[in-house]
């Protein structure tokens, strides 16, 4: 036993009464006084579970050793997963288990009767687009009839921003993880404002979708076919992080870097100059075009840990505008849900918080995989959404670091001396610190048909993590 550790004096930690820290300091002790508050929000049952499974570092039970090993593996996979854009295809050709009567949506599973305005609007739009309905009312009737199967994107190796609606005729990006061999899919980004993913479904939206189907996506597919290697999206993300993007709410650099890769391929693809011009203008006119590549890249990484036994690392976080849900690697396909939150943000002229829908979209896959809110320090401009400061951006990344497995190997942040963005949210740490992940997000109008009204920031509700940890505790007990 090493007690005392030193001959004279002590180095100590103080937790509780500040006067004890003052006394020790007066006596010349080296000390850290904790900014302490009860762990797990003071819930005794959660503390008990944490005491059984949450001892990180020096493990002292076979269970903890297993969890620790599984989480290290999860961390390794999340960092190592690659992402190469190889193709664009109609959804029906590539997305598994997507039949003609299925429509995918963002977030955890939900039935039509509980869906929010923008998701209903987007689904109506998709049904009109697929020729199954002529207008919103017809579409709504069909949707309510039970003839259409609604399924979360996440169940189909797919992610979708905002409403996240995918129907069989829409073209999707095909991305491949060369390290682990899995694929992920995501629609092409339609732009800002009045668009399907924000629940708009009018003629303008339809026209754009059809143009994307007929001209944009086939052109991009043709371009990609000219490339032997595909486009390394992970490399673009790494670079964009050094250029002020966090790849969720800010994709300016990513979009520009992508264009730089695409243009030579477009030129090689024997397309008309008019088509190339239209494609180019469409992409360069949409700062968020790259979001639909950063999201499936995150999905590629997250899917490598789905079902990883014993791991307490979060492998999905997604919202359908009514509920927000998370999945935990070691708990497989199960969703833990809570009512979706309301972002605090800035609104376009003419709109206010009264118009806003609850938090929506699969884009929080970013926060699951070390970008978005986790990389906030890289994109201080984004904190302006909440009137915040660059300092706040650093704090957000540091706070995410506290609940994560470690820094990402490849996603470095210059503002943090090129330390990696935190990756691998460990639900045990979230509960211990009562500190849920941050989410950067766009804000949709709550009524179908209107579209985006702003953008903002919020945090995931703690109850998701409480429930997931309780389930983990229960699961471990039964094993």
């Amino acid at each position: 036993m090493t007690f005392p550790a030193k001959e004279q004096g002590l180095s100590l930690v103080n937790m509780g009464l500040p006067s004890f820290a003052d006394s020790a300091r007066e006596q010349g002790a080296e000390l850290v006084h904790l900014d302490w508050k009860p762990a797990a929000g003071g819930h005794r049952d959660l503390l008990d579970i944490l005491d059984k499974i949450a001892r990180q570092g020096e493990v002292h039970s076979p269970l903890q050793a297993r969890i620790e090993a599984a989480n290290q593996e999860a961390y390794k996979r999340l960092c190592a997963a690659g992402s190469v854009l190889v193709d664009a295809r109609p959804a029906r050709e590539v997305i598994p288990d997507l039949d003609e009567d299925t429509i995918l949506h963002a977030g955890p599973p939900i039935t039509w009767d509980r869906m929010c305005g923008p998701v209903r609007g987007a689904i109506a739009g998709a049904l009109i687009y697929e020729g199954k309905a002529k207008n919103y009312d017809e579409a709504a009737k069909l949707a309510a009839s039970g003839a259409i199967r609604f399924s979360p994107c996440h169940h189909h190796r797919t992610v979708g921003p905002m409403a996240g609606v995918v129907s069989p005729s829409m073209w999707v990006w095909v991305l491949r993880n060369p390290v682990h061999g899995n694929e992920a899919y995501c629609t092409l980004n339609e732009g800002l404002g009045k668009v399907l993913r924000f629940g708009a479904y009018d003629a303008e939206v339809m026209e754009r979708l059809r143009w994307m189907e007929k001209e944009l996506a086939p052109s991009l597919a043709a371009a990609l076919h000219r490339s032997e290697t595909g486009i390394n999206i992970k490399a673009i993300i790494a670079q964009a992080l050094q250029m002020g993007d966090e790849l969720h709410n800010r994709n300016v650099a990513g979009t520009s870097l992508l264009l730089r890769e695409l243009v030579p391929l477009l030129l090689e693809a024997e397309l008309s100059a008019a088509t190339i011009k239209k494609v180019f203008d469409f992409i360069s006119g949409n700062n968020h075009f790259f979001l639909n590549l950063s999201m499936p890249t995150a999905k590629l990484a997250a899917d490598t840990i789905l079902g990883l036994a014993d791991s307490t690392v979060m492998c999905a976080m997604a919202r359908n505008g009514t509920d927000i849900g998370i999945r935990v690697a070691g708990l497989g396909q199960r969703w833990f849900t809570a009512p979706a939150g309301m972002p605090k943000g800035l609104y376009f002229g003419g709109f206010s918080e009264a118009d806003a829908n609850h938090d929506l979209g699969d884009s929080t896959i970013c926060e699951t995989a070390g970008i978005g809110g986790a990389a906030m320090a890289a994109a201080p401009a984004i904190v302006k959404f909440t009137g915040g400061t660059a300092e706040l951006a650093m704090t957000i990344t540091r706070d995410m670091g506290r609940v994560s497995m470690g820094p990402h190997r490849d996603y470095q942040i210059p503002q943090l001396d090129f330390e990696g963005a935190p990756v691998g949210v460990d639900i045990r740490k979230v509960v211990e610190l009562d500190s849920p992940p941050y989410i950067n997000t766009g804000i949709a109008h709550k009524e179908p048909g209107i579209g985006q009204v702003g953008a903002g920031l919020l945090r995931a509700p703690m109850s998701l993590f409480y429930e997931a940890l309780r389930a983990f505790g229960q699961f471990e007990k039964e094993k």
Partner: protein, 515 residues
Amino acid sequence: MLLRTSIIEGRYLDSVLLMSLAAQLKSRDGVADASAMMGTDANKAVLRETKMLDALGEAAGPSDLIVAIMVEDEALAAEVFATLPALLEPPKQARGTSTAELAARTLDEAKQRLPEASLVVISIPGVFVKHEALRALDLGLHPFIFSDNVSVEDEIELKTIGRERGLLVMGPDCGTSILNGMAIGFANVVSRGAVGIVGASGTGIQELSCLLDHAGVGVHQAIGVGGRDLSQRVGGLSMRQGIALLAADPKVSVLALVSKPPHPEVARQVLLEAKACGKPVMVCFLGGDPKIAQELGLHFAPRLDFAAQICTALVRGEPVPTQPDSLSSEYLEKASELAHKMPSGRKLIRALYSGGTLCDEAIQVADKLGLEGVRSNLASEGPHALSEPGKSEGNCFLDLGDDYFTRGRPHPMIDFASRRERIAVEAAQPDCAVILLDVVLGYGSHADPAGELVAAISALPEGGPVLVASITGTHADPQNYGQQRARLQAAGVHVLPNNASAAAFATAIVKELLA
């Protein structure tokens, strides 16, 4: 309402900055709506949709900034637009590299920041102690647990794990330790020396360590183990560990154990292990039975002053006394003199203690001297039991650290309000002859106990009771023993060298009154 537009040519600003700008404009009185966007076709479509695009805006190009506002009148529009240049200026204050660390929130973070930390002082609500202390043990930290309200099951689990890992769990309900010369919790600054103390009573450790300091004998380590450690269930887990530690430490030549009387089986186990260490052992089980210690050939003291005398003799290699010193003739004469001057009718002791252990010791001394009619809130039953702590009876010994007095207010070592109030109440009783006090100095205690007591005492009318006190403290304490004593003496308090003699002195006065 008027729609008015200002175009700023060739000025590119990030959309987020522009949304923030629009929000600022909108917050002004008289501005119904505001928009700030670059003049791209997509943005113009949005403006058109929200009826914020006029001809000026329509004419703007993609590299122009369109600021559109909906205002009450022309004058306000001009005023708002006049503020634009300032609003569009980049902030003057440099961002700075704000790499300041966040405050540590968990033990893991604290340990990362201070890897050489070996101890954690825990004074949080009891229900959260187990979780944090377990983590401390994982991180290789010895927990000093000041908190109470920790279940005995949790205490046993923590102490068992601590033992396995070679970490010492001090507490829960541990008030005092002196480790490597540093006072932890409620503790005094004593010189370092040859005595190693392990104690289950915080104030007991304080009094013993201070008396050793006064005697010129220092303390190498004083390890608190918490008030419940020597109960049958806990079985002295930490005290036994502390004994082993001090036994192995070559700087410790005398071992001192301090506790209220333990469970007999636990006492035997602990003392067997103490005996086996091969060093001289002084056992102070306050008011306890000397039998087990004496059977094992260990030195026994039922009182702290005697404990200090034994330790001093052991350290110096002098013959060990068999009886505690009785009150000197000088003090006996003084007591007699005070008794003769006492206004008639005043005949009882009213002891107002902040330390429970010291109160207990005082009762023991008074008992031994044959004082009758002793009552105390420390006795829940039996002849000493007091019916109502709020009302003194007979020769009344009150522990003001009792829950009855501390509910909703700080401990009387920190906050003197309850003692000041009670001093006034007792002095006003016509039969109160002596007010007996303890004054505990050191870290953790009030910064100026003498100041508090003198304020209360100087407010008393003439012809009241005699005030008797002892001070548990040293000259090196932040409050300074010498200065505190001088101020109490100047206020007419009789300050005795230790608690037992103060109790004996008080008893001598009232016995003289009865004689």
